[in-house]
C-alpha cells in the first residue's frame, strides 16, 4: 500500500512537471542587443578552447539571426557576433558566408564588405569569399566602377586553384556592356549554387523578382544559368522558381 502511494506520488509529480512545461507561457524573444565579449578576451584567456568558443558563438549567432529575422527584424548585435566568431576562428569559411548575408539583413553593408575582405586575407586559398565579395559589390555597390570592382573580385576568385570555371565567365560578363538583368540573374544563381538554406531562400526570392513573370519567358531567361551550376542544383532551382506555375 505504502509502495503504491509512493509510486502514485511520483506519477503525480511527473504529470505536474510535464503539464507545467507544456502550459508554460511562451518564452519572450531575446533582446536584440546582447552582450558580446571581445575576441581578444578569449584569445588571451583560453587559446586552447578558442575554436570551441567560436563554434558555440556560431550556433548562438545562427539562433539569434533566426529568432530576430522572423520577429522584430532587429539584428543589433549581428556585426559583433560575426566579428567575434571570425576573429576566434579566422578559417571558418561558413561563418564568413552566413555572417555576410546576416550583416546585409542587419543593413550593415560596409561591415559585411570589411568582413569579406578580412576573410580573403585570412584564407587566400579559398575562392568562395572573393566570389562573394564580387557579388556583394555588384549587388550593393554604388557608382559606375562597381561592375569593374566586382569583376576584379571574380577574377581573383577564378585565379584560386580549384575554383569553378564559371567564375572567369562571370568576371568577363561583368565587364561587358548592357544586359543588367542577365548579370544580376547570374550573380544570384551563383549565390544559390554555393549557398546554405538561408542564402538559397534569398537567391530564389531575388531571382523571382528579376526573372520575367511569364512562364515561357522565364524558361528562356533561365537557360543561360544551366552551365553555371551542377545539374541537380539547377533542377532544384528551376522547381523552386516554377512552384507557382505547378
Amino acid at each position: 500500500m505504502r509502495r503504491l502511494l509512493l509510486v502514485l506520488a511520483v506519477l503525480v509529480c511527473l504529470g505536474a512537471v510535464v503539464a507545467f512545461q507544456v502550459t508554460r507561457p511562451e518564452r519572450a524573444a531575446s533582446r536584440p542587443k546582447v552582450f558580446v565579449p571581445s575576441a581578444s578576451f578569449f584569445e588571451d584567456f583560453s587559446p586552447g578552447f578558442r575554436t570551441s568558443i567560436a563554434d558555440a558563438y556560431y550556433l548562438y549567432m545562427v539562433q539569434y539571426y533566426g529568432e530576430h529575422i522572423k520577429s522584430d527584424g532587429r539584428l543589433d548585435s549581428m556585426v559583433d557576433l560575426v566579428n567575434l566568431v571570425t576573429r576566434l576562428s579566422p578559417h571558418f569559411i561558413k561563418a564568413y558566408q552566413f555572417g555576410t548575408f546576416a550583416m546585409l539583413d542587419a543593413r550593415q553593408t560596409p561591415a559585411a564588405y570589411d568582413l569579406l575582405q578580412r576573410g580573403v586575407v585570412a584564407n587566400p586559398d579559398d575562392w568562395r569569399l572573393p566570389a562573394m565579395a564580387g557579388f556583394l559589390v555588384y549587388e550593393f555597390g554604388r557608382g559606375e566602377a562597381k561592375d569593374e570592382v566586382a569583376a576584379e573580385w571574380y577574377a581573383k576568385a577564378a585565379a584560386v586553384p580549384g575554383a569553378p570555371a564559371y567564375l572567369a565567365r562571370l568576371a568577363a560578363t561583368l565587364t561587358a556592356k548592357g544586359g543588367e538583368r542577365e548579370k544580376a540573374a547570374l550573380m544570384w544563381a551563383q549565390v544559390y549554387a554555393d549557398g546554405d538554406e538561408y542564402s538559397r531562400a534569398k537567391a530564389v526570392a531575388a531571382l523571382d523578382q528579376i526573372l520575367p513573370a511569364e512562364k515561357e519567358a522565364r524558361m528562356r531567361a533561365l537557360a543561360p544559368l544551366m552551365g553555371t551550376m551542377p545539374g541537380d542544383e539547377f533542377e532544384r532551382l528551376v522547381s523552386a522558381l516554377f512552384e507557382d506555375f505547378l
Binding site: 587559446p47 586552447g48 563554434d55 550556433l59
Partner: protein, 265 residues
C-alpha cells in the same frame, strides 16, 4: 650487484602488481561507468548541435566532442586520482602493503600507472567513438581527432600526477579541487608569462616567473584548433612539449613518493 638486480626486479614486479590491482579496482568503479556513458551521450549530442549549424556537422562534432573528452577525462582524473592513495590510508590497507618490502615510490608509481591504464581505456574509447562518429557525420576519417585525443590523454596524465601528489599532503576533495585548478591554470600558463614580462616590480616579475615554471603548460600540447583547420602544428615542438609533460609527471610523482616516505604508517 646481483642483489641489487634482484631488488630492482622486485620493484618492477611490485609496481606491475600494484598497477594491475589499481586498474582492476578503478575500471570496475560504477561512477566511472556512469561518467563515461554520460560523455558518450554528450558526444552524440554533437549531432543535435550539428543539425542547427547550417551544414557544419563535422566541425561541430569534432570540436565539441574533443571538449567533452577533455572535460570528462580531467574530471575522472581529478576525482579518482585523489582517492587512489588517500583511500588506502583511510581504509588502513596501506599498512598491509607496507608490512611487505614494498617501497613508497613503487606504491605511488604503481597507483599512477594503474589509473593511467584505466584512463587509457576510457579516453581511448571516447576518442575512438568520436573518430567513428566524425567519420560517419563528416563523411571522412580524421586522424587528427585521434592525435588530439592522444595529446588530451597526456594532459590528463599530468593532472593525475599532480592530484596524486596533492592527495599525499591534503584531503581527497581538496586534492581534486587543486588538480582542477592546476588544469585551468595550465591553460593560462602563457598569461602568467606575460605577467612576468610586464616589469611591474622585481617581486611580481620573480613570482610570476616561478608560477609559470611550476604550472604545467597544457596549451603547448593542445591541438584542438588544428583539428578544425585553425592551426598548423609543429610536430617537433609538440613532441618536445610532450616530453616536458612526462618529465613533469616524474617530478610530481617523485614529490609524492618523497612525502609518503616521510609519513609514519
Amino acid at each position: 650487484m646481483a642483489a641489487r638486480d634482484i631488488r630492482r626486479g622486485d620493484a618492477v614486479r611490485q609496481i606491475i602488481a600494484i598497477a594491475l590491482n589499481t586498474f582492476r579496482e578503478t575500471v570496475r568503479d560504477r561512477v566511472l561507468t556512469v561518467i563515461v556513458l554520460f560523455a558518450l551521450v554528450m558526444i552524440v549530442g554533437g549531432l543535435w548541435l550539428g543539425s542547427i549549424s547550417l551544414e557544419q556537422q563535422g566541425r561541430m562534432m569534432k570540436d565539441f566532442g574533443l571538449v567533452t573528452v577533455t572535460a570528462f577525462g580531467v574530471i575522472i582524473a581529478a576525482f579518482i586520482a585523489a582517492t587512489l592513495v588517500r583511500k588506502e590510508v583511510e581504509k588502513r590497507t596501506v599498512f598491509v602493503v607496507f608490512s611487505k618490502p614494498v617501497s613508497r615510490a613503487a606504491f605511488v608509481v604503481g597507483k599512477f600507472l594503474g589509473l593511467a591504464a584505466t584512463l587509457g581505456v576510457v579516453i581511448g574509447g571516447m576518442g575512438l567513438f568520436l573518430f567513428v562518429m566524425t567519420w560517419l557525420v563528416g563523411g571522412g576519417a580524421s586522424g587528427m581527432v585521434l592525435a588530439a585525443t592522444g595529446l588530451i590523454y597526456l594532459q590528463v596524465l599530468a593532472v593525475v600526477a599532480v592530484v596524486v601528489f596533492f592527495s599525499t599532503v591534503t584531503s581527497a576533495i581538496l586534492a581534486s579541487m587543486l588538480g582542477l585548478g592546476v588544469f585551468v591554470a595550465g591553460q593560462l600558463s602563457h598569461n602568467v608569462l606575460s605577467l612576468s614580462r610586464l616589469g611591474e616590480g622585481a617581486v611580481t616579475e620573480a613570482v610570476s616567473w616561478v608560477v609559470f615554471v611550476i604550472i604545467p603548460n597544457f596549451n603547448a600540447v593542445d591541438v584542438k584548433a588544428a583539428v578544425v583547420g585553425e592551426m598548423t602544428i609543429d610536430w617537433a615542438a609538440v613532441a618536445l612539449w610532450g616530453l616536458y609533460l612526462m618529465a613533469y609527471m616524474v617530478v610530481a610523482l617523485g614529490a609524492a613518493a618523497w612525502v609518503m616516505r616521510r609519513k609514519e604508517f
